[in-house]
């Protein structure tokens, strides 16, 4: 039986953030990412999982093993049905926060991955997708 190539994990409590980190660590290890690349992806996932929990009032992390030409990678999608982000440009700025964090979550996570997409609508929630290639 082959390993599943996609799945999901709930982001409903702080414990779930820890579990999401451990899941991403395992997936990046299975993909034989370097230790630095593993750490970057795990850290980005931790930031986005916390955002989904705190600002999005909980959500889900969807993961998928992806392939482009001969490159393999891990794609993560963080989806919540929270209030959404009114001003995306502002939210992406270093040091800007609407909560009591450092404001490095979104902008920092973007720097740690290869592909980053953010889609948010006020009142409908936020979806952030990140991919890191081996």
């Amino acid at each position: 039986m082959s390993q599943p190539s996609q799945g999901e994990a709930p982001l409903r409590s702080e414990k779930d953030i820890v579990l999401a980190r451990q899941l991403v660590r395992r997936l990046t290890q299975d993909l034989a990412f370097s230790l630095v690349d593993q750490t970057k992806m795990v850290t980005a996932a931790s930031e986005l999982a916390r955002n989904a929990l705190i600002y999005g009032r909980g959500g889900t992390m969807y993961w998928e093993l992806v392939q482009r030409d001969s490159f393999r990678g891990l794609k993560l999608l963080f989806a919540d049905e929270g209030p959404g982000i009114p001003d995306i440009d502002l939210a992406m700025k270093d040091g800007w926060t609407s909560g009591n964090g450092l404001g490095m979550g979104l902008s920092g996570a973007r720097r740690l991955v290869n592909d980053f997409e953010l889609d948010s609508r006020v009142g409908a929630g936020t979806r952030v997708s990140i991919t890191r290639w081996k």
Binding site: E14, K15, I17, V18, R21, Q22, R25, L35, V36, Q38, T39, K40, V42, T43, S46, E47, R50, D94, G101, L102, M104, G105, S107, G108, A109, R111, L112
Partner: protein, 129 residues
């Protein structure tokens, strides 16, 4: 509830973070540590993160807050043992931990703490004249 142990060694406190911390545990550590500094009149705090495989902005902020809080309570602090992959990631994330003293390992960290405390004491002696 989980708790990160704080060891007292003379006038120093030693904290070894060995678990993948959830946010409440990090906050609890901050609380416990400030109480321990006050109760023991500690002069120095050594925080060992050599087994931590990830430091995100939340944990980074907690470390910076502990350092600031310790200083206000009259204790110096040094963060030791950060793994290279964690350091690379932290800088790329945008956190350079300003105001936090660091050392490679516990031994070097302890030496740095002693020098820092000696420095504070000689400044005090100068002012007191």
């Amino acid at each position: 509830m989980d708790r990160i142990p704080i060891l007292r060694m003379g006038e120093f406190l030693l904290v070894t973070i060995q678990v993948d911390m959830h946010d409440q545990l990090a906050l609890k550590l901050q609380d416990d540590l400030s109480n321990a500094i006050q109760r023991n009149a500690s002069r120095g705090v050594l925080i060992d993160i050599s087994t931590l495989e990830m430091v995100d902005s939340f944990i980074g902020r907690m470390v910076a807050d502990i350092s600031g809080m310790a200083r206000i309570l009259g204790a110096e602090s040094v963060l030791v043992g950060m793994q290279p992959a964690v350091a690379i990631t932290l800088v790329e994330l945008g956190l350079s931990l300003p105001g936090v003293s660091t050392a490679l390992d516990v031994e070097r960290g302890m030496a740095l703490l002693r020098r820092k405390i000696a420095g504070v004491d000689s400044d005090v002696a100068t002012i007191a004249g």
